[in-house]
């Protein structure tokens, strides 16, 4: 057998790639059920953290079912899309990507904590090195922030990655998204600076680009829910 022959080399490479592809496809098929379940549990944990509850993966499903009473899609006018209700991972609210332009609407979760309703809004944006995301829980008045949760794919440890810490997230509690009847979001500013006419929190020193990313994410992602929040605010 001549190992230097071009025909042999091409045949060898082709067969190897087919075998490897089959093997990997089989592995993925066999494990994808468990993987999806993990992703869903992780999402539930994030939603619960935005409600200021840090629970383990084992407890997440139970606490989520207890607290999250309803979930649905809303249209750009802030009205509920008919037939989109449901809180399980198979329902549209849970499975819709908020950045998907072709989706039927934007997902909102309704949780009841200690007798009062909180609205949870998913957020997506970009940091310095990659995507950042989060969940914001808002009181029934559509303006006061009850809690915030942030996640990131690969921000700098000790700098941008600090957005996930309770001390950064805690700053958002009690801030107002709506000022004088218009949606203004909450600004993330350099320590010591202020933002005129809007509520603000201190950014991460040394993590300027990530902080700006959080600022833009709040403005853009939560901004899409402007009409929904204004409707809630007006109903008060």
């Amino acid at each position: 057998m001549n190992r230097e022959n071009s025909g042999y080399t091409i045949l060898y490479a082709s067969i190897m790639v087919i075998i490897v592809a089959l093997g990997l496809a089989f592995t993925h098929q066999a494990l994808s059920g468990r993987q999806t379940a993990n992703v869903n549990i992780d999402k539930m944990q994030q939603i619960l953290r935005s409600l200021k509850m840090d629970v383990s993966a084992a407890e997440a499903q139970k606490r989520y079912d207890e607290l999250v009473q309803n979930a649905y899609l809303i249209n750009p006018d802030g009205k509920k899309v008919e037939g989109s209700e449901g809180t399980t991972p198979d329902d549209p609210a849970f499975s819709t990507d908020p950045d998907d332009e072709t989706a039927a609407g934007l997902p909102v979760y309704e949780a009841v904590v200690e007798g009062s309703v909180k609205y949870i809004i998913p957020m997506q944006g970009t940091g310095l090195w990659g995507p950042i995301w989060g969940y914001l829980s808002v009181e029934a008045d559509g303006s006061t922030i009850y809690g915030a949760e942030f996640g990131h794919q690969g921000e700098t440890p000790g700098l941008g990655a600090e957005i996930v810490t309770p001390s950064f997230r805690g700053q958002f509690v009690g801030k107002e998204l709506i000022k004088e009847g218009t949606f203004r979001s909450v600004a993330v500013v350099k320590s010591g600076q202020t933002a005129a006419g809007r509520d603000y929190v201190d950014g991460i020193s040394g993590g300027t680009i990530t902080s700006k990313g959080v600022d833009a994410m709040l403005l853009n992602s939560v901004g899409k829910y402007g009409n929904f929040l204004m409707n809630l605010n007006a109903a008060r």
């Binding site: 057998m1 190992r3 230097e4 022959n5 042999y8 080399t9 060898y12 490479a13 190897m16 790639v17 490897v20 093997g23 990997l24 592995t27 993925h28 494990l31 468990r34 993987q35 993990n38 992703v39 549990i41 992780d42 993966a57 794919q153 690969g154 440890p157 000790g158």
Partner: protein, 210 residues
């Protein structure tokens, strides 16, 4: 089970005088990145050990059939396939650890230790010695990672595997966690300290100085 001197050297050499990290200085990138806590360091050590061992066995079995012109590509495909399987298994059974390791599982593919062992050992030896060589090099890499991870988590956050081990009374008495330990440069300094201790005990590894 009696091991011949050669197989014994293949298994035990990398733990000490042939260590991939502290003697050959390979695999430093991941040693810096995943050692801020002990748990990801342990998982990374196990993952690299498995991939090196089975990559070595597969390449060793195929060594008489691999066309020389594409042997590096064949090695890469084998390693990449094994790493993808490890990554899929972690996603299914250890999701949190997978999130912490993030890109570094994928980067096992580019770990020089792997390609080095495949090229230098598996292509010229049978499956059993290759398997032992892979296990040995994986463990040699692993014990450095775990040692560095141990000190960084202990001194950096006062915890081990996420459990608080430094008692509250120490903090009350003015002890503070060393934030520098959590940053990547400290891993390099700890690796250097291990190299220092290791060379001090093994005079034959010391380079001649003029």
């Amino acid at each position: 089970m009696a091991l011949s001197a050669k197989t014994k050297a293949a298994l035990l050499g990398p733990l000490n005088k042939n260590n991939p990290v502290i003697v050959q200085v390979l695999g430093i990138c991941s040693a810096l990145a995943v050692t801020s806590k002990l748990e990801p360091a342990l998982v990374m050590a196990v993952a690299v050990t498995l991939v090196t061992a089975f990559g070595n066995v597969i390449i060793s079995l195929l060594r008489k059939t691999i066309p020389t012109r594409i042997r590096i590509i064949v090695q890469l495909v084998v390693v990449a396939a094994l790493v993808t399987i490890v990554s899929e298994v972690l996603k299914a059974f250890a999701y949190d650890v997978n999130k912490q390791l993030s890109v570094f599982v994928g980067l096992i593919v580019t770990n020089c230790i792997l390609m080095g062992r495949l090229e230098a050992f598996a292509l010229g030896n049978g499956p059993w010695p290759s398997f032992l060589d892979g296990i040995g090099n994986g463990l040699g890499y692993g014990w450095i990672l775990v040692t560095v991870g141990f000190f960084r988590e202990l001194l950096g956050s006062g915890k081990l595997l996420g459990h608080q081990v430094i008692p509250q009374c120490m903090y009350d008495a003015g002890y503070e966690n060393n934030g520098l330990m959590m940053l990547a440069p400290m891993a390099l300094i700890l690796v250097a300290v291990i190299i220092w201790v290791h060379r001090a005990r093994n005079k034959d590894l010391q380079e001649e100085t003029n």
